[in-house]
């Protein structure tokens, strides 16, 4: 749940990048880290194995600046994508205000994407949260790979996006789609705190 400090007028939100192994979750955070000025980001922490696979999580605090008079801070996390690390993946989801599901666009990874999405649903439910109430966007990463190796966004939509969520084609390694994804999930998360939230009018 977003943390709101009325005294210092600060909002802190937790966003988790979820998805199968090697889909590009860490690449998203690394790209953001590389683009954002030093004074708008904190230290990036990566708990990785010796072969640079995420073991527990990556963590990147971001300062979005002032929104409606509140200094707004986002904490970006990734989960380990490998099936083996489900226990730690579930822990990182605790208290998440929003989720970015990073799918690997490669045709041969379709089953892994579906399995990871189902795993997300199960893990969210185990935290007592209905996935339909959790702000979420999809990112179809690796769209820069040759056409014959990947599925088009429309095909991925058909396979993964049965809730008609916002979805963004991306190349997280080089940047396209990273900003758009972060912008969309930020808006989804903050909308819940706004006067425009459903049931608040």
């Amino acid at each position: 749940m977003s943390l709101v400090n009325f005294t210092t007028r600060e909002i802190t939100c937790k966003i988790v990048y979820y998805g199968p192994g090697r889909s590009g979750k860490t690449s998203n955070l690394q790209y953001v880290y590389g683009q954002v000025p030093d004074d708008r980001r904190g230290r990036m922490v990566s708990l990785a194995t010796q072969t640079d696979r995420t073991l527990f999580f990556d963590f990147l605090p971001l300062d979005l600046g002032s929104i409606s008079g509140f200094t707004t801070k986002f904490q970006l996390y990734t989960v380990p994508g490998q099936v083996y690390y489900n226990a730690t993946r579930k822990l990182v989801l605790q208290g998440a205000d929003g989720v970015v599901f990073v799918a690997d666009s490669q045709m041969r990874q379709l089953d892994e994407n579906i399995e990871s999405l189902q795993n997300l649903h199960v893990n969210v439910l185990e935290h007592g949260i209905d996935i339909r109430t959790l702000p979420m966007v999809l990112q179809y990463n690796k769209q820069d790979l040759p056409r014959e190796l990947i599925l088009a966004p429309e095909e991925l939509d058909e396979a993964l996006n049965f809730r008609a969520l916002q979805a963004f084609p991306a190349d997280a390694l080089h940047g396209p789609g990273v900003f758009e994804t972060l912008k969309a999930i930020s808006a989804e998360v903050l909308r819940r705190l706004s006067a425009a939230a459903p049931g608040r009018r």
Binding site: L3, I67, G95, F179, L193
Partner: protein, 156 residues
């Protein structure tokens, strides 16, 4: 320099008292998701945000191992280094479960931290108000400001 940041004012009195009594370098009160609720002490001792994320992760993972072993919880964790020690413990309050990270140096001891930590928990429990439902925080047209903030963040 010693600094204090509190998200909810009820934490401040017990927190400042605990730091002084236990002679701790830094105490951070956080949510189980790793969000800082209050801190007092020498923030140069650690990077506050990452220490909170890591502290919450340690508590979450040890709690999960406890669960798998049929233990209700392992409670307090303690690590001693050459210059600093850390004491990491959960705390149940009317505002829900919180996690407290205490960083201390050679001027005190784990025993002293533990003694005053128990008093700190009791004081927090007494001071904590019940959960409150809050109204909207941001204006309905917040997205324009969000877009500007993100554009400046990504230098677009």
């Amino acid at each position: 320099m010693s600094t204090t940041t509190v998200v909810e004012s009820w934490t401040e009195g017990p927190l400042v008292r605990f730091v002084a009594q236990a002679s701790a370098r830094l105490v951070v009160v956080m949510t189980p998701a790793g969000q800082v609720l209050a801190q007092h002490g020498f923030t140069r001792a650690v990077d506050l945000m990452s220490a909170s994320a890591l502290g919450a992760a340690i508590m979450a993972s040890s709690g999960e191992i406890a669960k798998q072993m049929g233990e209700p919880s392992f409670g307090t964790l303690y690590h001693a280094g050459k210059k600093h020690g850390i004491h990491l413990a959960p705390c149940e309050t009317p505002r829900g479960r919180l996690i407290v990270l205490t960083v201390f140096g050679k001027e005190t001891s784990i025993g002293l931290v533990q003694v005053f930590f128990d008093e700190f928990v009791a004081a927090l429990k007494q001071a904590a108000p019940a959960r409150q439902q809050t109204g909207p925080v941001l204006a309905a047209d917040f997205e324009r400001e969000l877009n500007n903030s993100l554009a400046s963040l990504f230098r677009r």
